[in-house]
Symmetry: C2
Subunit: 234 residues, 2 copies
């Protein structure tokens, strides 16, 4: 089997005090969570670790590979309930919420996730547990794949859009309320000729952002799960 970035592991304990891949990944995750993709550079990362920039390259082939490792690290955070404990439907709901909150903790994910397929070990483990969960619903083998895929796609798509909004608020530096009211104003101007849009924006800015986004997420997930459940009952 060919060597991959996933398979490479340190064979023995390091002689003197050295960098380690785990250390690098950990620090990179911190930087990414704090400063986003644009804030992560090999030089800055190395500086934070108190080492030279090119030292990192002994532990990690390229920056892209480092990002692959970081993405896989996120997949490790998601829990998928065993179907016996909660039943399929509420298990899937829990899974969806867990996936969402992991992405919200790592808002840089959407920006990089869609440029590469996820094939790391934690992605595999996640997939396995997901298939077990959806397998318990009574789908045909083929439908299990499709159902899990559509739920993941829905969740990731929704939360990715959510992150875009949230990050914009964060970067604007202003308070949520002032931002929302400005958005309203701006959108009403931009949506001037579009009465439905104007009304929609008004509706959506009437509650606080957080519960609005959550309601959004839950509504679609629920509908999707309904649709999937109907398929199994036939």
């Amino acid at each position: 089997m060919r060597e991959t970035i996933w398979s490479r592991q340190r064979t023995a304990a390091p002689a003197r005090e050295t960098l380690s891949r785990e250390q690098i990944v950990k620090m990179a995750m911190l930087v990414l969570d704090e400063e986003g993709v644009a804030g992560l550079s090999m030089r800055k990362l190395a500086a934070r670790l108190g080492s030279g920039a090119t030292s990192l390259y002994w532990h990690v082939p390229t920056k892209d590979d480092l990002v692959d490792l970081l993405i896989d690290e996120v997949w490790a955070e998601i829990d998928v309930p065993e179907p016996e404990l909660a039943g399929w439907r509420s298990g899937a709901l829990l899974f969806g919420h867990s996936l969402r909150s992991a992405v919200l903790r790592h808002p840089w994910l959407p920006e990089v996730m869609y440029t590469r397929p996820s094939v790391g070990p934690h992605a595999m483990a996640l997939g396995e547990r997901g298939l077990v969960l959806f397998g318990a619903a009574g789908f045909s083998a083929r439908e299990v794949d499709l159902a899990m895929g559509s739920v993941m796609s829905y969740v990731l798509g929704t939360v990715s859009a959510e992150v875009a909004t949230r990050e914009m608020v964060r970067k604007s530096g202003r308070s949520e309320e002032s931002w929302v009211s400005e958005l309203l104003e701006q959108a009403e101007a931009a949506a001037g000729d579009y009465p439905q849009m104007r009304e929609s924006v008004r509706r959506r800015t009437s509650t606080d952002l957080d519960s609005e986004l959550t309601a959004n997420f839950v509504f679609g997930l629920d509908a999707l799960l309904d649709g999937l459940e109907a398929r199994v009952k036939k």
Copy 2:
């Protein structure tokens, strides 16, 4: 009202032959479609237009703003049927497919889309037509927003993941079959301890990539629309 990148327009015909924002956007779109986000640099773009790199900055404030324009250009390509013509359900289906194929034509979109909210004029127009379509289904005003949002999120999420796979095949330079068989091999190795995953990968690589991805997309969209439809019938 504040000036935005959307509102700025040339006031009169140019005196001599000059660059124009439309020209720049058009060429940038070409470059992006061909070479992806990484392939678009202001210098290369200018070179293709036969001008100096910094000349572009007279027409466009920053590269990021240019990308905003390009994204909005994509939204212009999507058609949303009027509900009278097709009825809500099949209208939504058509809308979904149109959205999907637009993204497939511009596979760079997912990489940049989720880093900013879309508030350009074509995004607004798209939203308006979408709201009209979903409004015809008999949802409450609030549900119209939620339903349209969830369908868009599902479609964009699914097709974004799809693009990640397709681009990987494309970049590998190899034929689809050889790539698929290698993926199979690799995934079976990676999924060694994961029996469900192994079976799932095997199932998914048994047909050709194109119809596999399409079936995937349709399955989830259908389920979601079922779930939404059920909400309106109550």
